[in-house]
């Protein structure tokens, strides 16, 4: 097996680590890397980790239609979920709607999906966006699909836990409502990250390097996980793994 680790494999592994000890992870629309990470976490789990993947027939335990994912989250039965964003700002506000003055957006994204709900209710929401540029990681989003934090009187058991990009991992500090740089992926630097990030964030004195997947994990990703994810994301799987 080639030991050249693709960046997608790195990201799958990094996200998967954040799902240790969870009992139920849900994956929304257009999320092949988080979906693979959830399947990897399940494969590595000693207990029964459940994965519910939107659009999958095999990895879907729901039997009450489109509303069940959301009801289930409100019942506290979902431990982790993933959200992305056309824009993400330093307060972990996310924008899935568009750039410009709404509703006359210059650039239109698909829409908010369930973000304006799941971001409030799922305890560990992992923000994931590969592209790490000032275009995406902005000082302030143009449209808040879902805010990163809420006033105390809002019922909000859930919220952001981390932000994973092609360059690094940020953790979200709920008290400060700010990101803290957690680890930098191999081959990237702090200077580069500061330059490519449109928002200000906390920088601990020592910042670790993101741990790449072990060769066992890599084998798992390229075998079982590549196969499992291909049901829901055939194009992704065939492009990445040639499956």
């Amino acid at each position: 097996m080639s030991e050249v680790i693709k960046h997608e494999e790195m990201l799958i592994s990094v996200i998967s680590e954040m799902l240790n000890g969870m009992s139920h992870v849900a994956v929304g629309a257009s999320s092949p890397i988080p979906g693979s990470a959830a399947l990897l976490a399940r494969a590595n789990s000693l207990t029964d980790l459940r994965v519910s993947m939107l659009g999958s027939e095999e990895h879907n335990i729901f039997t009450n239609g489109g509303t069940e994912l959301f009801d289930c989250a409100a019942q506290g039965r979902i431990d982790a979920f993933f959200l992305g964003g056309g824009q993400i700002d330093g307060g972990a506000n996310i924008n899935l709607v568009g750039i410009g003055d709404y509703p006359d957006t210059k650039v239109r994204f698909p829409g908010s999906f369930g973000s304006a709900y799941l971001y409030y209710l799922v305890p560990r929401v992992i923000l994931f966006r590969e592209e790490h540029t000032p275009r995406v990681l902005v000082p302030k989003v143009d449209f808040i699909s879902a805010p990163g934090s809420s006033p105390e009187n809002v019922n909000r058991p859930g919220g952001p836990y981390a932000l994973v990009t092609e360059r690094c991992v940020f953790k979200f500090d709920k008290k400060k409502a700010r990101f803290r740089l957690e680890s930098i992926h191999p081959g990237h630097s702090l200077e580069e990250i500061v330059e490519m990030t449109g928002f200000d964030f906390d920088k601990p004195s020592t910042i670790s390097e993101t741990k790449p997947p072990s060769s066992d994990t890599l084998k798992l990703i390229r075998g079982k996980i590549a196969d499992e994810i291909s049901e829901t994301y055939p194009a992704f799987s065939s492009k990445l793994f040639g499956a």
Binding site: G66, G98, G111, G114, N153
Partner: protein, 274 residues
């Protein structure tokens, strides 16, 4: 009371212009053949409700100029990228967009299903979505001892639900399996029109194993057989999406001209679909 139509054309002739029409996302039951017939007929000014999002069928209807307003949590062609005709229509301001979020759309339909004027929904507070929604009210939770804000979502009652399902029987019952958002849609809508993949031999409600996934004919106004009726999107349990065709669409639909060519070829002169 459920009418069986011989042709999909006749079924969709029951959808007036300007209807408020509920559609399912690409992974649920998409009546693609009926959508093509609707476009061919030249339906106009539709108000589409994505339950909770809409994909290929929404993009096609928008591209063909059939849509005035779209109310949805998202428009997405999944892995294939941004929905080209939707994106272009928003840029050019040719359609109205009512941005929502999945659980609020489900809640609005469930409110209509239950005949109640609204449903409370968690979350949403502080999002920019609610600023633009006159049909959502921020209220205070009357059961909370301390002040707690809460969004009330107005009931959504579609004029028509249009779906494609794996099975229907001669009594007009239709089987949707675990894709019960289609059952909520049918319960909530004034009319439900259905295309189906195969005729079920027997009564779906009499079979103990089939009944739980069945929408009774009480809620179904019209039906037509449409084999391969969800092509190219795919139908759960039956056939996968035709990814190659979707790529062709994505490529052609990048431009107005390309899209016109596409619908000429696949809607007005449908050789490839037959």
């Amino acid at each position: 009371m459920t009418k069986h139509f011989e042709k999909v054309e006749t079924l969709v002739s029951n959808i007036p212009d300007s209807s408020k029409i509920a559609l399912a996302p690409d992974y649920s039951g998409c009546p693609m053949e009926a959508i093509r017939k609707l476009i061919k007929r030249g339906v106009t000014s539709l108000h589409i409700i994505g339950v909770p999002s809409v994909g290929f069928q929404g993009d096609m209807l928008i591209g063909a100029g059939c849509v005035k307003t779209i109310e949805t949590a998202a428009v997405t062609i999944g892995e294939h990228g941004l929905a080209p005709r939707f994106t272009s229509a928003i840029k050019n301001g040719t359609i109205n967009i009512i941005d929502g979020t999945c659980p609020a759309i489900h809640a609005g339909l469930q409110a209509a299903q239950k005949g109640i004027p609204f449903m409370p929904v968690r979350g949403i507070i502080g999002s920019d979505l609610s600023k633009h929604r006159l049909d959502w009210i921020e209220a205070s939770n009357p059961f909370s001892e301390s002040e707690e804000p809460l969004i009330l979502v107005k009931a959504i009652t579609p004029d028509i639900t249009l779906i494609h399902v794996p099975l229907a029987d001669s009594n007009g019952n239709v089987w949707v399996g675990v894709r019960r958002e289609m059952m909520v849609m049918a319960h909530a809508s004034k009319k439900t029109l259905v295309t189906y993949e195969k005729l079920f031999d027997g009564n779906l409600l009499s079979e103990e194993s089939m009944a739980p996934g069945t929408i009774p004919s009480l809620y179904i106004d019209g039906l037509a057989l449409a084999e391969n009726g969800a092509w190219p999107v795919g139908l759960f349990g039956n056939y996968p999406p035709d990814e190659n065709h979707l790529e062709i669409y994505m490529d052609m639909a990048k431009t107005d001209e390309g899209f016109k060519e596409y619908i000429n070829e696949y809607v007005f002169e449908p050789k490839a679909a037959e």
